[in-house]
């Protein structure tokens, strides 16, 4: 079943001296449970494409249908709510809230969703366990390694029970061992939870794990295997 349907997507930045076509007519369909890598050289438009899919940026042209809903039709307030309930984000620099502990970081997104305290605590504990962080619940991000922080970030993304998780270069700041661990964990979650993961990356190790690789160059899909 297709959870993301992208039709003739364009994004042109006009705030530069010369207009830049970052995304130039991408059409793509992503099925539930995919483990997809969006790859391409720097400046190819993969981050912009991910931002558009995540509702963080608005397309100049084209449609993005998520679960049948065209996010182009949502206003900024509805878009925030849509992101909160339907999309999980994993960032390159982990981006956890530094003053919260691991469990609080995971539970925070559920608080935004209005889930009761007891329930969110229980879910957060389970997610930290699943991401291999049992015993680290009360550590703050500064007390965790890069790999562990990224695991918390994945747990946080999962906590909102999203339709899919967008991960922008999730392994860029990790060493080989942490990258391997993180990819194995995400692949496991993909299998066990049927969670859809979409990565942007130029990391060969991520590409090797991906079951589908979409290559973008000059804002266009040049291959999809």
């Amino acid at each position: 079943m297709s959870i993301i349907q992208i039709n003739n997507l364009h994004k042109t930045y006009t705030d530069t001296k010369v207009p830049v076509k970052a995304v130039n007519g991408i059409s793509l369909s992503i099925e539930e449970g995919e483990f997809t890598a969006i790859v391409g050289p720097s400046g190819s438009g993969k981050t912009t494409f991910l931002n558009l899919m995540g509702g963080l940026d608005t397309p100049t042209e084209g449609d993005i249908l998520i679960g049948g809903k065209n996010i182009k039709d949502l206003n900024s307030r509805q878009l925030i709510d849509f992101r909160l309930h339907h999309i999980g984000f994993v960032f390159q620099s982990y981006n956890l809230i530094p003053v919260l502990t691991a469990i609080e970081n995971v539970a925070f997104i559920m608080e935004l969703q209005g889930i009761p305290k007891k329930e969110r605590h229980q879910i957060a504990m389970e997610l930290l366990k699943k991401t291999g962080l049992e015993g680290k619940e009360n550590y703050r991000p500064g007390e965790l390694s890069g790999g562990q922080q990224q695991r918390v970030s994945v747990a946080r993304a999962l906590a909102s029970k999203p339709k899919f998780i967008l991960a922008d270069e999730p392994t860029a700041n990790l060493d080989s061992a942490s990258t391997e661990d993180l990819l194995n964990m995400m692949a496991e979650l993909n299998k066990s939870e049927n969670m859809t993961f979409i990565f942007s990356t130029h990391d060969k190790r991520v590409m090797d794990k991906a079951r589908r690789i979409v290559t973008i160059d000059d804002g266009k899909v040049v291959s999809d295997v």
Partner: protein, 411 residues
């Protein structure tokens, strides 16, 4: 959890937060301290004026206050004394004859206000008898006694048992004079009062002025100044007929000395003005600090927006951070201010050599601080309002952030 994040965010940069907290503390100390000083000074002045000079309520013949004519006396004064003394709020009531006169000795002369009083009645109304620093207050045993202020004694080179000649116009308009023996000298915190007021027995002055048995003034003193209006209303009701028939005119100390009342109002106004000026300066410091904090956390705020935190919640978070800073600073500031005010309320702030200058304008040289609960509360509320208002500009800066730009910075 937003409140918890806001609280923890405060302590991410401890030094910066502590500097702002210290600024709030110093601001409140300055505002409350200056109010304590000014309010204490004015309160002392008012209390002194009521205790030694005015009493709480005075009755006169209606024209007397316009023109201190010796024949403007209150008919049948004892009826008023009797009614006043029956009220539980009244400490005492005293009959007085008041005349403008010339006081002279062999070496000098000066104009004075001579007050003829019944010593035992007057002791219940004013505290001049407690201010006698040499000799004694008036009593029935003495021979034509007078109690003078120390300042006047110095001016006229008077000593105890010296003779003071008092010259005045009697009830027929004839200039008359009498000799009084100085039996005591008093000293209040008001040099001008001490220099211009002398006290004699009412009968001695009545005889001299030709108005024996008559009085110009009835002074009523209360146990609690706060009951002045209440007692005034009760007396107005009791003496309604006499007031309507223009036999008497009754006034509170505020009506007799409107300057004192305006001084109280001005003090309150300047205290708040001073506090507001301090808070405006503080607001700029808070805006600057919070803007710095927001700019440093631009990426984090962008991420919060990306994962689904609404702008309203981000605004609340920043506002709470500012509010917490102000509340911590405000509470510490109030606590320290309370300590400062209590210390000076107990021991007083001694102006030493400047004290004599202050006495010339009617103030004590030692000021005992006083701050009302209302001012403490108002200071705290104003600090909180300043914090909320100061958080608006940094919050707007945060809300203008575009999550995409923030994420770009991240990656």
């Amino acid at each position: 959890m937003i409140a918890s994040i806001a609280w923890r965010n405060l302590w991410r940069n401890k030094l910066r937060s502590l500097i702002i907290i210290a600024a709030v503390v110093v601001g409140i100390l300055g505002g409350v301290g200056s109010d304590g000083f000014m309010e204490g000074m004015v309160d002392q002045r008012v209390n002194t004026a009521i205790a030694n000079e005015l009493s709480n309520i005075q009755l006169h013949q209606p024209d007397f206050l316009l023109n201190n004519e010796i024949n403007y006396t209150i008919p049948n004064p004892d009826q008023y004394i009797e009614v006043a003394n029956q009220m539980p709020e009244v400490k005492g009531a005293s009959k007085r004859i008041i005349c403008g006169a010339m006081a002279s000795t062999a070496t000098a002369a000066t104009s004075v206000l001579i007050c003829g009083v019944i010593p035992e009645q007057e002791k219940k109304v004013t505290g001049i008898y407690k201010k006698v620093i040499s000799g004694n207050y008036l009593n029935d045993e003495q021979r034509i006694p007078v109690v003078v202020g120390k300042k006047l004694a110095d001016k006229l080179e008077l000593n105890l048992n010296s003779k003071l000649i008092v010259t005045l116009a009697d009830s027929s308009g004839t200039i008359t004079y009498g000799a009084f023996i100085v039996v005591g000298m008093y000293q209040t915190s008001n040099n001008l009062y001490d220099e211009s007021h002398i006290f004699v027995r009412i009968n001695d002055l009545g005889k001299l002025a030709g108005i024996t048995g008559q009085v110009h003034e009835i002074a009523i003193s209360l146990f609690d100044n706060k009951q002045t209006s209440l007692v005034f209303d009760k007396l107005s009701s009791s003496f309604k007929q006499q007031i309507n028939n223009k036999l008497i005119d009754m006034r509170t100390w505020e009506q007799l000395e409107p300057l004192l009342k305006s001084m109280i109002e001005m003090t309150a106004f300047f205290s708040y003005l001073f506090l507001i000026i301090i808070l405006i300066a503080l607001a700029f410091a808070i805006i600057n600090t919070m803007t710095m904090a927001i700019l440093e956390r631009k990426r984090e705020i962008g991420m919060l927006m990306a994962i689904g935190m609404t702008r309203g919640k981000i605004f609340t978070m920043i506002m709470l951070e500012t509010l917490f800073l102000a509340i911590v600073g405000g509470l510490v500031g109030l606590l320290m201010s309370y300590g400062l005010v209590e210390y000076y309320a107990h021991y007083g702030l001694d102006f030493g050599s400047m004290g004599s200058g202050m006495s010339y304008i009617g103030y004590d040289s030692i000021v005992y601080f006083k701050v009302t609960d209302g001012f403490y509360l108002a200071s705290f509320i104003l600090v909180a309002i300043t914090a909320v208002l100061s958080s608006i500009s940094p919050s707007i800066k945060a809300l203008k952030l575009n999550p995409v730009d923030a994420i770009r910075e991240l990656n």
